[in-house]
């Protein structure tokens, strides 16, 4: 922490793994004030410093860990951080966001961001404790899983309070689904960020700090936090009580009722055995306690232990909807214990539940359609409903073992390119990023958000729960059109809704707050982010000003992808959602109309200031303070056409 900064710590670490050097660099004021933090920092730094043609596994790719100005300041759910890189899964922007305690630990140590470049000759870990920042030998850790790595580091440094971000075998083996784990069970999971970390031979970062930060107006920080919690308790009462009680596993029951539960590799939206995977069996037998991340107002994380049966003794935390569907309904399986242990295995190997489950869903469907045979699967039987092979498949995936392991390690887009034929149809990816969460056919705006997400198939750029949680009256008042509340229908208003949510959701990724603090309560999105930023940093932010910053970052992210050849063609959903109607559940008969989707794209690009191909126009770039980006796009021949 430096004396002149409030909110932000004021220092960035620049780590060069090739040279083995670490530099402490003052935080640039323009970066701080105009990009806020977290994903805002990362996307700008990536655009500026990672040029087209860079090899994702080469020394010039950056792996950036960033916190926000509100990290560690006691505002609700302030314990998040974002990891960004040039992703080899998408070939474009890749980022992942995680909770736990790591963001706060590095911030309290005095660092807003850690920018890692280069490739280390030998495995290393980065040790951070206040002023002490060192690269240390990690050869004794290489090959070990995340949990064991964390234990060893805590023991070696006699500090049970340290936070450890680490890769497991999956990251070391440069697997597409590799995540960076922190605090045992929290994951910066998407985009294969774990694979980039593994390619750099960076095994872990440990962080602990007491140097601390300053906040500008402590009384207002505290007052607005209490006010906020009271607002949610009052205007989002059901959400506050139920989510605190059950955590994300409640979405299994919820999405089953919405007809949105990914089933049989996303073929269907409701599962005949969903009741075996929901909160009733989970809380009856397995959950012993609830935990939370740093600053959390919900304690959504179920800590479980299996007390009898074939998996007796298995424990884990952060039981997640994605594991229950990923190792459950997506594969036609209904064994809750297999799903729970599958989640813990992913935490140990360092695997993204979503990406692992998606490539497995791909493999399962290919196998059941006869596209993959037992020869391709090394003899494993991937029939729908066969849960007995799930843990073995995860192990082989993490370790790139055998023909199957090698194939799955590529991720389903590249794997289906290798297999050819209809395999591609079963790859549920957008820009190569494997999909999670819910079915786009029954939540049309949210589904559209997956398509245009700047990091590829992703539900969190918009996390568009307001489509089903705002009342139509709230939708009318805050977004402008009540029709957006009809989740089954595509209306032009949905493009505006997607832009609005992308912008307010960017604020979660910039302040670094968990997205669960903004659900059904409209004021929570609009009013509190600028109040918190102003109270913590002392800089005067407004709702409108933050909208401009969001426009700026979303556009620079788009530019990052555009200079790598991405455009409109990459903003579509997998064919399944256009071509197949749901045959079960409350979404029966629903599919996405290509014609209407195209209209949404046209409208979305227009209001974003991009041309019909989705390329940012100079007029918009200059409006949001990105003239230099316009110049660069023009030089590379990717600038959007002005006239429509």
């Amino acid at each position: 922490m430096t004396d002149e900064w409030y909110g932000w710590a004021g220092t960035i670490l620049r780590v060069d793994l090739t040279k083995g050097t670490i530099k402490k660099v003052p935080l640039d004021k323009d970066l701080a004030y105009n990009y806020v933090g977290g994903r805002g920092f990362n996307s700008k730094i990536l655009f500026d410093e990672v040029k087209p043609g860079t090899d994702p596994f080469g020394p010039d790719n950056l792996l950036i860990f960033s916190t926000g100005p509100c990290t560690g300041t006691s505002i609700p759910n302030n314990g998040r951080y974002t990891v960004s890189t040039l992703s080899w899964v998408t070939g474009g922007l890749g980022d992942a966001n995680s909770g736990g305690y790591f963001g706060q630990a590095m911030k309290y140590a005095g660092y807003d961001a850690i920018v890692v470049k280069g490739v280390s000759k030998k495995p290393v870990y980065l040790f951070i404790e206040d002023d002490t920042v060192e690269l240390r030998d990690a050869s004794h850790l290489w090959g070990k899983d995340v949990w064991e790595t964390t234990e060893i580091l805590m023991r070696d440094h006699s500090n049970k309070g340290m936070s450890v971000a680490a890769i497991g075998q999956a990251g070391e083996n440069v697997v597409a689904a590799a995540a960076i784990m922190n605090d045992y069970s929290r994951a910066a999971a998407k985009a294969g960020v774990g694979a980039i970390m593994g390619s750099k031979k960076l095994k872990a970062i440990s962080a602990y700090g007491e140097s601390g930060i300053r906040v500008y107006d402590p009384e207002e920080v505290y007052k607005s936090t209490i006010e906020y919690i009271e607002l949610i308790a009052e205007t989002d009462k059901w959400w506050f009580e139920t989510f605190s009680k059950y955590g994300t596993p409640m979405f299994v029951d919820q999405y089953q009722h919405l007809g949105a539960l990914p089933t049989y590799n996303w073929k269907e939206g409701s599962f005949e055995h969903a009741d075996k995977l929901g909160i009733t069996p989970l809380y009856e037998k397995y959950v012993k306690k609830k935990r939370g991340c740093g600053g959390c107002m919900y304690h959504c994380s179920p800590w479980f232990r299996i007390d009898e049966g074939p998996f007796k003794g298995w424990v884990g935390e952060g039981v997640e909807y994605e594991a229950m569907t990923g190792f459950g309904s997506k594969l036609g399986c209904d064994n809750l214990e297999v799903a729970l242990v599958g989640g813990s295995l992913c935490d140990m190997y360092g695997l993204d539940y979503i990406s692992a489950a998606e490539v497995m869903g791909w493999a399962w469907e290919c196998y059941n359609e006869g596209i993959l045979t037992k020869e391709d699967t090394d003899g494993l039987d991937l029939s729908w409903g066969n849960d007995s092979v799930i843990h073995e498949v995860l192990r082989r995936l993490a370790n790139r073992e055998g023909k199957l392991g090698e194939l799955l390690a590529l991720g389903s887009r590249k794997a289906s390119e290798r297999i050819g034929g209809k395999a591609k149809y079963f790859s549920m990816t957008i820009k190569g990023q494997q999909m999670g969460s819910m079915d786009p056919r029954v939540l049309k705006a949210w589904g559209f958000g997956y398509g245009v997400s700047t990091r590829g198939g992703d539900h969190l750029r918009t996390h568009l729960v307001c489509e089903y949680m705002f009342t139509p009256e709230e939708m009318e008042k805050y977004v402008g059109d009540a029709r957006a509340s009809d989740r089954f229908t595509i209306t032009e208003a949905k493009a505006d809704l997607v832009r609005w949510t992308e912008n307010v959701r960017f604020l979660n990724d910039a302040l670094e707050t968990c997205k669960y603090i903004n659900r059904g309560s409209p004021r929570s999105y609009v009013e509190f982010p600028y109040r918190w930023l102003t109270a913590t940093t002392g800089k005067s932010y407004t709702y409108e000003g933050l909208q401009t910053i969001a426009d700026r970052v979303l556009t620079i992210e788009r530019a990052f992808n555009v200079v790598r050849g991405m455009g409109r063609k990459d903003d579509y959903l997998p064919d399944r959602y256009y071509d197949e109607t749901l045959s079960t559940g409350t979404g029966k008969g629903q599919r996405v109309s290509r014609e209407l989707y195209d209209k949404l794209l046209d409208r979305y690009y227009e209001i974003r200031g991009w041309d019909k191909e989705g390329k940012p126009k100079r007029s918009h770039l200059e409006k949001v303070g990105l003239k230099y980006v316009a110049d660069e796009l023009e030089k590379l021949g990717c600038l959007g056409k002005e006239a429509s």
């Binding site: 009722h257 919405l258 009342t471």
Partner: protein
Amino acid sequence: MSEKEKLYKAIERAGLGDGLIGRSHGLILEALTTGDFCKSEIFDKVKGKNYLTAPQQVIRATDQLVEIGAVKAVGKRKTEYAEIGEEEEVYSITDRGRILLEDLRAKFSTFER
């Protein structure tokens, strides 16, 4: 203060003025004139009207009606919606709710869109 005055004061206090009480609430109140129901049952009655397509919209709109005293909980019932709760509250329309319904009917020619 009359019941009607109390109603509109409650709406203001809850921050639900300025059009935030509307057709959705009219539909819910109408459903409750035919009996006492829990949220998932109300949803089944009103779904498809006024863009109401998810139970969560009805959950929140009903909670808003509880907050302004237009509706009150009178019991509990077990339903299949585990994500709403182990048991769901059963709701009944109040006198204030009937006044609100009348005003909403006067304001909107129809609650369906």
